[in-house]
């Protein structure tokens, strides 16, 4: 959404990641533990702060907004919000903050809630931008309703719209879905996906739900007991055996693939995954050339020395074993790279017995089978 939503000043400048993004280093005592967090987020896209409940994620987010005081520095683009001698008050930091619960102003209507920040942002917000945000979040039919009559998901959408309309430089979202039931989560996730794709600013997204992060995040900052344990691109973290995601029962990898064909007869879409074909359920937007996010659950991947004949499996990928690590007593996690690529990696989970029977070793070239019905695609935010 160039020049529209987001800070207008960001529009034309060149976007070196370090200058336009968010850069923080904060430390201090919070509750019973010491927080020490340093990371940066690129100028656009979703950076997820992931970690167990009570690990300090919210405190870090609040400190970035200036709602809590930690030592250190916070820099948004070229604007310093905090350093040794300076602490800019929250209302002077151009943050859009979405709280866990929607926190709409009970004394104002939906429209007035939406415009509360817009009226206070320098330069204001024109009708075109209001239109854009209303379309993006599906707010039109909510505007005539009273705040008290909105459902949890609708309230959160209004709260997100209100934050965007204040023209922030940085969006901070603190578990915006955690107060919602599964149905409402399912309804609101596509809105946040669209938003993430449309906003030309860094989005920090706090969550302890890996499923949300697999859908939304581009990068992940892993927070444990107040400290940053690791940070990097999403799939790199998910497939980093040392970080332990693989031990999760639904451990998955997330890759980006491009739609190359759609067959209306049987409803399958063909995706190009770094030169190899993957077939998936083609429901949802599957225009040719569109990039889709492909989630491959490790336990849905099986391995063989040769291609399988006479099988229902549609997807057979030529892969190479990068590493083999234990994942529980009976299982192993196999880190695979698509043949001919170093960084398109995903995981398979197999039993030790199978691995021994096939005498799997790093460097082996294999065939990986994935059932099409087990593959989920979602929009690339």
């Amino acid at each position: 959404m160039s020049g529209g939503v987001g800070n207008p000043a960001d529009g034309d400048r060149d976007r070196r990641p370090g200058r336009e993004g968010l850069d923080i280093a904060l430390c201090g005592m919070r509750g019973s533990f010491w927080i020490e967090a340093a990371f940066s987020a690129p100028a656009r896209g979703v950076t997820a702060l992931f970690g167990p409940s009570g690990s300090g994620k919210t405190s870090i987010l609040r400190a970035i907004a200036g709602l809590e005081r930690l030592e250190g520095h916070v820099r948004a683009g070229e604007t310093i919000w905090q350093d040794e001698g300076r602490f800019v008050a929250t209302h002077r930091r151009a943050v859009g903050y979405v709280f866990q619960e929607a926190s709409l102003f009970a004394h104002l209507g939906v429209e007035e809630n939406l415009l509360y920040g817009a009226r206070r942002s320098p330069g204001g917000v024109d009708a075109a931008m209001r239109r854009e945000v209303a379309d993006l979040l599906g707010l039109d039919h909510l505007k005539s309703r009273s705040v008290a009559d909105l459902s949890g998901g609708e309230r959160q959408r209004v709260a997100i719209g209100r934050a965007i309309l204040s023209r922030p430089r940085v969006m901070l979202m603190d578990e915006p879905l955690s107060g919602l039931d599964n149905r409402a989560k399912g309804e609101i996730l596509p809105f946040i996906e669209r938003l993430a794709g449309a906003l030309d600013l860094p989005i920090l997204y706090v969550s302890h739900d890996i499923a949300e992060i697999e859908r939304l995040a581009d990068r992940i900052v892993l927070v444990e007991a107040g400290r940053v344990r690791a940070s990097g691109p999403l799939n790199q973290a998910l497939t980093d055996i040392g970080l332990g995601f693989v031990r999760h029962p639904h451990a998955a990898s997330v890759l980006t693939a491009r739609v190359t064909a759609f067959s209306p007869e049987d409803g399958l879409a063909e995706l190009d995954l770094c030169g190899q074909s993957v077939f998936v359920d083609g429901s949802g937007p599957q225009e040719i050339g569109l990039e889709r996010r492909l989630r491959i659950e490790a336990s849905d991947v099986s391995l063989s020395r040769g291609p399988l004949a006479q099988s229902t499996i549609l997807n057979t990928l030529r892969v190479e074993i990068v590493a083999i690590e234990p994942a529980g007593r009976a299982n192993l996690a196999i880190l695979l790279a698509l043949e001919g690529t170093g960084d398109f990696t995903f995981m398979a989970k197999v039993t030790r017995r199978s691995a021994e029977r096939l005498a799997l070793c790093p460097g082996d070239r294999l065939f990986a089978q994935i059932k099409s019905v087990s593959l989920a695609t979602s929009p690339v935010p």
Partner: protein
């Protein structure tokens, strides 16, 4: 015996005047005080909260006595260049403000506390300055407390007696309010007037308390 309506009307007007001025002063003083008490948790704020609550338990005559001293020639009166504020309308306002303060501060303070930190934080992230969020978020959300405080402050001022008697005396048109007038009528055995004024006060008080519970129900629902 004929009823002297002029006498009653003059007392009534004076009472309404006193209650109105007092309520305005109370809201002006009570609002920042309530805000501070709602958000501060220090020994100082506890002490101030206790001082504010004192008129609830002190006999009005004790309060009146100290106010008489404070407003007299040795006290505040000399500071504002008047020989004495006692036995004047201004003195009555000062006394009424002190006497009714808890009835205004307490509901507003409770309402501010009930709002919690979150709506103000939200407003701060939406670029509202502290003063801006106070007036556009805290005050509207606490309107229930303001209504309750204003009605109680007004009604309590109308109903005060002891303090007025101590510091105001009984000067027609200056300090002779309705509650004093009733006392006066009874002393003079003018029961018709006493009945009229007392009955009026009874109905007024009934309506005030009824209004309070209606306010609570009507606005209670829409608050978070």
């Amino acid at each position: 015996m004929t009823i002297d309506f002029g006498d009653i009307v003059s007392a009534l007007v004076l009472t309404l005047e006193l209650a109105s001025v007092t309520t305005l002063v109370l809201l002006a003083i009570g609002t920042p005080l309530a805000w501070w008490l709602a958000r501060s948790n220090t020994l100082a704020s506890d002490i101030v909260a206790t001082l504010v609550a004192l008129p609830l338990v002190l006999p009005p005559t004790v309060l009146g006595f100290y106010l008489l001293i404070a407003l007299g020639p040795a006290g505040l009166g000399s500071l504002v260049g008047v020989r004495s504020l006692a036995f004047s309308f201004e003195g009555l306002v000062a006394g009424s403000v002190v006497y009714s303060l808890p009835f205004v501060v307490q509901p507003i303070r409770n309402a501010f506390q009930a709002i919690g930190e979150r709506p103000l934080e939200v407003a701060a992230t939406l670029r509202a300055s502290p003063l801006d969020r106070f007036f556009t978020v805290a005050v509207p959300l606490a309107r229930n407390g303001f209504l309750t405080g204003a009605v109680l402050g007004f009604a309590h001022t109308v109903g005060e007696f002891g303090v007025v008697l101590m510091i105001g005396g009984n000067i027609p048109g200056e300090t002779r309010v309705l509650s004093i007038a009733i006392f006066d009528y009874v002393e003079q055995l003018r029961f018709a007037e006493a009945h009229l004024v007392a009955g009026g006060m009874l109905i007024f008080s009934f309506l005030v308390i009824l209004a309070m519970s209606r306010i609570g129900r009507r606005f209670g629902e829409t608050l978070p």
